[in-house]
């Protein structure tokens, strides 16, 4: 049918198959670009635009007022902003470091020792990563509760033991209500949540290391610790670089865990107030969209610089080692 039509009226207009070849691909790929422009690029550009304006959402788009760099200088002279950055850095470190220190040996153990149970164990460790934050908050509130919490009950019970009792506190610890403990409590939840994810990354990295290397090493009489030190660690560097970079970015964008655990308040002494939380507060509670937008760009710069430093310090040589 098509063919007869085509031959009957040659060159009249672009044929169906022409259309299919030339334009159809663009139509098929357009959903991605439409979504990307609407939900990816536009918000970023709008946010950049917003960061130079004073605007209270709720007053309508017409009420934007250009203020130049004032939103940036406002943030840079705001003690709470610096406090939030400090909290974020501490939390990123407190929660980031243990994740990797646990995940690497764990992945090695699962890879080497638990071959048969590997899938089950991996799934168990990965479970926290996919658990809903609401469920997590319920669980950890029950655990951390000052008067009624399981952790305090256990600690108090341990305090009653002879000999080792002195190591544990006699008083109940107000985990989420006291400045000294808020950050540890938040870090614990973050470590619990993301260690499984890192372990999975390392596990996949380990599986890419050729088995012959280990076989050769064991023929040469290398112990498991030596194998880990001289084969696993060096060959795992590219994956470590990726995992650390992801942790770095994720840690600096920390929001959900501290927000939920402190009821959005930042906790005692604001010790749990991260920069993203402060940004959210500036937007949602203070209705100061411009300052919040500027804050997001400042955080972006911090993340960018630290990622670059990470790249220089350990990424380059790590990746170069593969050549």
């Amino acid at each position: 049918m098509q063919a007869t039509l085509k031959s009957a009226k040659p060159r009249r207009k672009p044929s169906w198959s022409d259309f299919q070849r030339r334009y159809a691909p663009y139509i098929f790929i357009s959903p991605f670009f439409i979504l990307f422009f609407a939900f990816g690029l536009f918000p970023i550009l709008f946010n950049a635009f917003l960061s130079f304006h004073q605007w209270q959402p709720g007053t309508g788009l017409g009420d934007m007022k250009f203020v130049g760099l004032r939103n940036y200088t406002d943030n840079l002279t705001d003690p709470t902003f610096w406090l939030s950055l400090k909290n974020t850095a501490i939390l990123a470190l407190m929660s980031g470091l243990p994740q990797h220190l646990i995940a690497i040996p764990l992945a090695f153990a699962i890879q080497g020792g638990l071959r048969r149970m590997q899938n089950l164990v991996t799934a168990v460790y990965f479970l926290p990563y996919i658990t809903s934050i609401v469920a997590i908050s319920v669980i950890f509130f029950t655990l951390f509760s000052w008067q009624y919490g399981v952790i305090n009950s256990v600690l108090n019970a341990l305090h009653g033991l002879p000999l080792i009792g002195a190591l544990f506190p006699a008083e109940k610890i107000n985990w989420l209500g006291e400045k000294e403990y808020v950050q540890s409590a938040v870090a614990m939840v973050v470590v619990w949540r993301y260690t499984g994810w890192n372990m999975l990354l390392y596990l996949s990295g380990l599986q890419a290391i050729p088995r012959e290397l280990y076989e050769a090493a064991s023929v040469d009489g290398a112990t498991r610790a030596q194998q880990f030190r001289y084969i696993t660690l060096p060959l795992l560097r590219p994956i470590m670089f990726i995992a650390v970079t992801l942790s770095l970015i994720g840690g600096l964008q920390l929001f959900e865990e501290p927000f939920i655990l402190t009821n959005g308040s930042g906790g005692a002494g604001q010790a749990g107030l991260t920069t993203v939380m402060y940004m959210y507060r500036t937007y949602a509670s203070y209705s100061d969209a411009g300052v919040a937008a500027a804050m997001s760009w400042l955080l972006f710069i911090v993340i960018g610089v630290l990622t670059l430093v990470n790249n220089r310090a350990f990424g380059r040589s790590g990746l170069a080692g593969r050549d």
């Binding site: 709720g58 007053t59 209705s287």
Partner: protein
């Protein structure tokens, strides 16, 4: 076949016309609300439709926070808001700033004409510094002290002695805890400070700013010094459960376990207590005025009309019905326990009935008294920021990391930074 498009066009024009004439007779308006206010609106509709058979009302109910977020988005983009929107007290100042909500003090609304019919402090809450009015008050939250009568009796403390002053609240509180080991006097010491900050304001003073936008938070301001001092005394005497804000998990658990001797809150707390918070302690709780003859309000709701609404006349008709109709306000009170902002509704016989949960105590009379005595507070657009900063200062005093003078000086500087 060639006539087909023309035919379709003709048909659709006829259809549109038919629909158009139908909608000219009957207008549909939407109401954006949050629970439990949605059940109040729902209960109001039969009565409203008797008066206005040509207005169909559709209720869009979202969870409390989602409702206000959606409203913020709708107002900032100028699209998507309902014709009537409920606004909680905490959000009024924020939405009042721009021009997203209709100024109902102007014609054809003239909300000012109803002012004398409402509890005095409600109107100023919905008015901006430049005199516009953005919402009609519907319910209020007169503050009260709730206490466990059994615990007080055990300690030989009378409720009147307990709430005579803040000092006697603390000294008697110690006795109550001594007689009831393992309990707390109050969920959080900070609550006492919040009440003192909110009461005893001089005229022209707001919570944190005066009329001329000067910061009132200051180590020389007796209101703040007293608020911080009393809270610190409560914390130092280990009387509070350090539960943080209301509805925190620690707060909820303490209530459910029956470990609290007193709590300050809006009258609406009774509804929560009997439904889920302290079900097992029915008849043991009772109500009194706040310590030291102070009166403060806990929240309240308003109805507003967004500028973008296409049916402002109908929207206003509904708002007027919901807020100024006595029977409707009484119905609302019976539906959810929402305390009426309309004074006439407060005179309904239902207010003289005892509250079963409070062991038949005629507490509503008490709350009505409190409502009439609460002083209006001027709202400032920077209130949310100042509130956060003062709360932080208070918590640093309570945990002992700053003394009161330092904390208030720091807070003053932080607020002043924003208030230029």
């Amino acid at each position: 076949m060639r006539n087909l498009p023309r035919l379709t066009l003709a048909l659709s024009i006829a259809l549109t016309a038919a629909l158009g004439s139908a909608s000219a007779q009957k207008t549909t308006i939407t109401v954006g609300v949050f629970p439990d206010l949605d059940s109040v609106v729902k209960a109001a509709l039969p009565g409203f439709n008797k008066l206005y058979p040509n207005i169909t009302v559709k209720i869009n109910s979202l969870a409390y926070a989602d409702h206000h977020t959606a409203l913020t988005t709708a107002l900032s983009t100028g699209k998507g808001a309902s014709d009537v929107v409920a606004v909680d007290f905490g959000y009024v100042a924020r939405f009042a700033e721009g021009n997203g909500l209709v100024d109902i003090s102007k014609a054809p609304y003239n909300a000012g004409q109803f002012r004398s019919q409402f509890i005095a402090y409600t109107y100023p809450q919905a008015m901006t510094q430049d005199g516009r009015m953005v919402g009609m008050p519907t319910d209020i939250g007169p503050g009260a002290m709730f206490y466990r009568s059994d615990m007080l009796k055990k300690a030989g403390v009378s409720p009147a002695a307990m709430n005579a002053s803040w000092e006697s609240y603390i000294s008697n509180g110690k006795k109550v805890l001594a007689a009831n080991p393992g309990t707390f006097l109050i969920p959080d010491a900070g609550e006492a400070a919040q009440i003192i900050i909110r009461t005893g304001l001089k005229s022209g003073e707001g919570l944190y700013f005066d009329k001329n936008n000067n910061v009132l938070v200051d180590p020389a301001n007796p209101r703040y010094v007293r608020a911080f001092t009393i809270a610190k005394q409560i914390r130092d005497a280990k009387l509070d459960a350090r539960a943080g804000s209301a509805f925190s998990p620690e707060w909820t658990t303490a209530f459910q376990k029956g470990n609290l001797a007193t709590e300050f809150s809006g009258a609406w707390l009774v509804g929560h207590m009997q439904n889920w918070l302290a079900k097992d302690f029915s008849g043991k709780w009772a109500s009194q005025q706040l310590p030291g003859n102070t009166y403060a309000s806990w929240g309240g709701s308003f109805y507003a009309i967004p500028q973008q609404s296409q049916h402002k006349t109908e929207a206003w008709a509904l708002i007027k019905y919901l807020t100024t109709n006595k029977d409707q306000q009484v119905l609302a009170f019976k539906t959810t326990g929402a305390f009426p902002a309309l004074r006439a509704a407060g005179n309904d016989p239902v207010f003289n009935e005892g509250v079963p949960y409070l062991n038949g105590q005629k507490a509503r009379v008490l709350w009505r008294q409190a409502a009439l005595k609460i002083q209006p507070l001027d709202v400032n657009k920077l209130d949310p920021i100042a509130e956060q900063i003062v709360n932080d200062a208070l918590s640093s005093v309570l945990d002992g990391s700053k003394d009161i003078t330092t904390a208030l000086t720091d807070a003053k500087n932080l607020i002043a930074r924003r208030a230029r």
